[in-house]
């Protein structure tokens, strides 16, 4: 019990530390927001005001996915070498990755919400069941965060190849994005909890499996 308490405390302090650091570099969060804004505006320009529900749905997830990649990728890039030595002395790698995943989860959820706001504002509100859609966004953020945080850890350790995070993470995210876009399509047109229950469960399971894998494998990743 005491051990769990300590781990929770450490995870919380990692999250807090990340939020503090993020606050100091506010412009990077704003940059990701701007990224979402510019791409959404691009969609608005290209579709010229007339957009089908299917395109709305597909575009939304693709833009949120790419914005999330931008967001999560930076989470390790900025602090590769030195701060990690510091972390190493203080916390276990498992604690570190959990903290980072939870932090990125909040970050991505925030980006997703802003994206939703922008979409509703620019491309029109096509969402039928907003509650279900936001719940989906929440689950999606958890799954995205688990995979993206871990992959950004890998690519931070690999090289400066800028395409690497996208190449490594997008194929791993296909199962989630596919299930997501199918389910959210129903949130757009009329959501039934009975029909979509299993899909939500699959999404939750995917997020859980990814988190578990990151938790187990991260120790090996950072052992230098």
């Amino acid at each position: 019990m005491k051990y769990i308490c300590r781990v929770v405390k450490q995870v919380l302090s990692i999250i807090q530390l990340n939020i503090t650091l993020e606050w100091r570099r506010r412009q990077s969060f704003l940059a990701v927001l701007l990224y979402t804004l510019t791409t959404t505006y691009l969609a608005y320009l290209v579709f010229n005001g007339v957009i089908s529900t299917e395109s709305w749905n597909a575009l939304f997830w693709i833009i949120v996915l790419f914005a999330s990649i931008q967001a999560a990728f930076r989470s390790f890039q900025n602090e590769a070498d030195r701060r990690f030595l510091l972390y190493f002395g203080m916390v276990k790698p498992q604690v570190l990755i959990l903290g980072k995943i939870i932090y990125n989860f909040l970050y991505i959820f925030l980006i997703g919400l802003s994206g939703l706001l922008l979409f509703v504002f620019l491309l029109g509100n096509l969402v039928d069941d907003m509650g279900a859609f936001i719940l989906l966004l929440l689950i999606a953020s958890a799954g995205f965060s688990a995979i993206l945080t871990f992959v950004s850890g890998i690519s931070a350790k690999a090289s400066d190849n800028p395409a690497l995070p996208a190449i490594l993470s997008i194929p791993l995210l296909y199962p989630q994005v596919l299930t997501l876009s199918r389910t959210s399509m129903r949130a757009l047109t009329g959501f039934s909890w009975e029909v979509n229950g299993p899909y939500l469960l699959v999404l939750l399971m995917l997020a859980l499996v990814s988190t578990l894998l990151s938790y187990l494998l991260f120790a090996y990743l950072w052992r230098d």
Binding site: I154, S159, N161, P171, P175, T179
Partner: protein, 219 residues
Amino acid sequence: MKKHWWKALGVVLVIYTIIYGFIGEVPKYFILNETIRNLYFHVTMWFGMIILMTTSLVYSIGNLVNGSLTRDLKAKEFATTGFFLATLGLITGSIWARYTWGTYWTNDPKLNGTAVTMLIYLAYFVLRGSVDDPIKKGRLSAVYNIFAFVMMIVFIGILPRMTDSLHPGNGGNPGFGGYDLSSSMRIVFYPAIIGWTLIGVWITNIKIRYQKLIWKKNG
């Protein structure tokens, strides 16, 4: 000879598959007709691929637990040969689909699963290519390999069960039993899996030995 019998077995089984696969008895199904013979090539190659990828996974786990360059090399070469078999499976499937479904590629959960699997392993090779330090490369790619394998199983094992597939024997259940193999087909199908796998292992073996010779030469 004692050490190499399995290579001969692999060759014999593949030749048997090719000959018997074309002249053997097959049940006559509507639409499928004679194209059902593709089962001996397309499906069995992918079974072989899964076996090779799993071997690669085992070596990757071994590499993490007990790091060694040889394990990393084996993990990589098994994945490469697995990828090769996947490509062959893709081509045979695609040609078959052209004549059965009327198109080379369609939006089917199993096809998507394959595409994802191949993209994941391509990413694995790209990752290997972008790290210079061999020990670090081994560890990073082993970690990715394990992550990727689990996601691949999710994609080709779980998701297709939630939607219909155009594949024969499907309709919500892509289980192997769904193929309803007749006994005349089983006697080719199972040997074919073993044959392709053995040939794959042989190819991998040669590549591993080749790389080891290069290492030896360079000290």
